[in-house]
């Protein structure tokens, strides 16, 4: 087991820069998820850690040693691929033991390790089957087993659940988390699914256009996004962005969304945003759960307003509502009994204690 460090890592393909100078420190035992849209460089980064891609610039260290020119087999890593990449002519046991057999481990130890991993992954009864006799979920377990038996310094997962159906994905997600709790191996996990990132990670690395947008725990990313990209990428339904301006009125700061809708800022927010020039084009960032039906009693920072709903989506435990404000579509979450109907007006409330303010031009969260 070991820490992994990336120092100014760059990957260039001819003229395209896929990864543009990444710095990342992954602690021992940590589970780090690289997440981002397709083409953001997350898989390339993982493959560079694995040694499957050369790095154009910078350094990669595993366990404190620079491994830039170390071939994959000597990096002591194990990788789980999106399409499983099981050896089709070998049984499950042979697949899992291939690496150990190449390294000429004693037969008894190979058997012990394979048995242990099979027990951990609940695939004991499949041990003599060929990959084609397995279901997708079982194949993915075998692929994980192949990684576990090697007892490597680092686990690398390249979108391992993308080929599974939604239900199985949730199940395997829990399985992966359980495995990590047992073996505690440093793990780098790549996915485009922010839910997977949030649920699995100790820390999430959000990537976009070959750069790291933000690194943080799932909670940090959710509540304190650094950029508009992170704010919109993490969370589902995504954060709402409504064009707005700050105004001074009688010594207090207020936020103007339209000619009619103006809210006074709560004290904490007013102090925080005091220095922002009043002429700046801003965006109010507010998560759907902070746009709800108005309640009878007034609380500080929760401001009521009226909206005409475009669409409602009853989800059972809640109803998602969509309406338009300043040309922006806004999503809110209301109680199923709040009486939300398509095309009907509804008295809503926005919780400004949980607001974010973004610079519309730079996309930075202020």
């Amino acid at each position: 087991m070991a820490e992994v460090n990336l120092r100014k890592v760059v990957k260039r393909y001819d003229e395209v820069e896929a990864v543009r100078g990444i710095d990342l420190d992954i602690a021992d035992h940590e589970f780090v998820v690289l997440v981002g849209p397709s083409g953001c460089g997350k898989s390339t980064t993982l493959r560079m850690i694995a040694g499957l891609e050369d790095i154009s610039d910078g350094d990669i260290m595993i366990g404190g040693d620079v491994v830039n020119d170390v071939p994959p087999k000597d990096r002591d890593i194990a990788m789980v691929f999106q399409n499983y990449a099981l050896y089709p002519h070998m049984t499950v046991a042979e697949n899992m033991s291939f690496g150990l057999r190449l390294k000429r481990y004693p037969k008894a130890e190979i058997k012990a390790r394979v048995d242990e991993a099979a027990r951990m992954l609940d695939i004991v009864e499949l041990i003599d089957r060929k990959p084609k006799q397995l279901s997708g979920g079982q194949r993915q377990r075998v692929a994980m087993g192949r990684a576990i038996v090697r007892n490597p310094k680092v686990f690398l997962f390249d979108e391992p659940l993308s080929n599974l159906d939604a239900k199985l994905r949730v199940q395997m997600r829990i399985e992966i988390k359980k495995v990590h709790q047992k073996v505690r191996t440093t793990t780098v996990y790549v996915t485009h699914d922010q839910v997977e990132a949030m649920t699995l990670a100790d820390r999430v690395v959000v990537m976009n256009h070959g750069r790291i947008e933000q690194i943080g725990t799932p909670t940090e990313l959710y509540h304190k996004p650094a950029t508009r990209f992170v704010a919109s990428f993490i969370g589902s339904p995504a954060m709402n962005f409504i064009p707005c301006r700050l105004e001074d009125a009688g010594g207090k700061v207020q936020i103007r969304l339209s000619d009619k809708i103006v809210f006074p800022l709560p004290a904490a927010q007013a102090a925080r945003y005091q220095k922002i020039p009043r002429t700046d084009k801003l965006l109010l960032g507010i998560r759907p759960e902070h746009v709800t039906e108005a309640s009878a009693h007034v609380e500080p920072g929760i401001e009521p307003f009226d909206a005409v709903l475009d669409v409602t989506e009853p989800m059972g435990m809640e109803t998602l509502i969509y309406f338009t404000m300043q040309g922006a579509q806004v999503c809110g979450r209301v109680n199923p009994n709040a009486g939300a109907k398509d095309g009907a007006p509804l008295r809503l409330a926005v919780d400004l204690n949980n607001m974010h303010l973004l610079n519309e031009v730079t996309g930075a969260v202020l």
Binding site: P72, M79, N83, Y84, P88, F98, K132
Partner: protein, 303 residues
């Protein structure tokens, strides 16, 4: 509204289904028709060979129905199989084929692996070049090749012409490019992640080839083997040109040169020899066909 849609869709779908099955029935009829014609066309010569091989020379030249054997005899078979000369041809052919197949596989499998997987400068051009060499017909090549071997013999004193083993150098010029091309195709169809997994598991390039690629691409390997064997077993022009002494001849040339004396054609033995010559490839095809058809890549990845 909903009911109306169903009413509308119902009959249309039925009609469509009916016409499709009628199309299919006709397609089947036509394909059987052409398959039968093709079968007659391709089976007539071997049947004629078999019939003729069972006749005596007298019966062959007699003006009877050529499609029927009136006095079946095995004299042609006995004659050939007890002739040291014919057995020598058979032996030469077998040696040449076995060695050529081995040499071809030893060259083309690693070559195809390198061209399919190890990206190096000019690998794509090289892969195309390999295939292009196959397109040059041997009828163009045999004269310069003959000259080359003659000059080589003059300079080094090593005479390769009129030795059966000269064919071990000549045939691979036909088999290696094509087999390499076939294997490139098979290797390229193996998912990239499979060799990446092997490399991470600690396999060298050579181990990746022998323990992953060759087992997974076994159907392709067998196809290439069959091709190389067929070429070296049936090749006629090169042995005709490069070998002349009777003890150096391979079967196709041996049959023609020894069983045709001037304008006397020993048809019975020629047909028997041709049939016996066709037996080994037939047996090999029959034996390997199961492996050839079996898809071994199933289950490697999703899909």
């Amino acid at each position: 509204m909903t009911t109306l849609t169903i009413d509308k869709a119902g009959p249309t779908r039925k009609a469509k289904y009916g016409s499709m099955s009628r199309d299919r029935a006709w397609a089947l009829r036509w394909s059987y028709f052409f398959l039968i014609i093709f079968a007659i066309f391709s089976l007539t010569p071997p049947i004629y060979m078999l019939i003729t091989s069972l006749k005596s020379s007298a019966e062959i030249s007699a003006a009877t129905n050529p499609w029927w054997v009136f006095h079946p005899t095995l004299e042609n078979y006995v004659g050939l199989l007890t002739s040291n000369q014919f057995l020598r041809f058979f032996w030469n052919s077998a040696m040449v084929s076995i060695f050529v197949v081995t040499i071809t596989m030893l060259i083309s499998v690693p070559a195809a692996f390198a061209l399919a997987r190890m990206r190096f400068w000019g690998s794509t051009v090289l892969a195309t070049g390999v295939f292009l060499t196959y397109l040059i017909p041997e009828t163009l090549l045999f004269i310069p090749l003959f000259k080359m071997f003659a000059v080589f013999g003059d300079f080094t004193g090593i005479q390769l012409i009129n030795k059966w083993y000269v064919l071990l150098i000549l045939y691979p010029t036909l088999t290696v490019p094509f087999c390499t091309w076939i294997m490139i195709g098979y290797f390229a169809s193996i998912p990239k992640e499979l060799d990446e997994a092997a490399i991470i598991d600690g396999a060298s390039w050579f181990q990746t080839l022998t323990r992953i690629f060759i087992p997974v691409a076994l159907p392709g390997l067998i196809a290439a083997t069959i091709f190389a064997f067929t070429v070296s077993w049936a090749q006629f022009l090169y042995p005709l040109v490069f070998t002349t002494s009777t003890d150096q001849l391979v079967m196709p040339v041996g049959i023609i040169t020894t069983l045709i004396k001037g304008d006397v054609f020993n048809w019975g033995q020629i047909m028997t020899g041709a049939l016996l010559g066709a037996a080994p490839p037939l047996i090999i095809y029959a034996f390997l066909m199961d492996y050839y058809i079996a898809g071994l890549t199933a289950g490697a990845t999703k899909g």
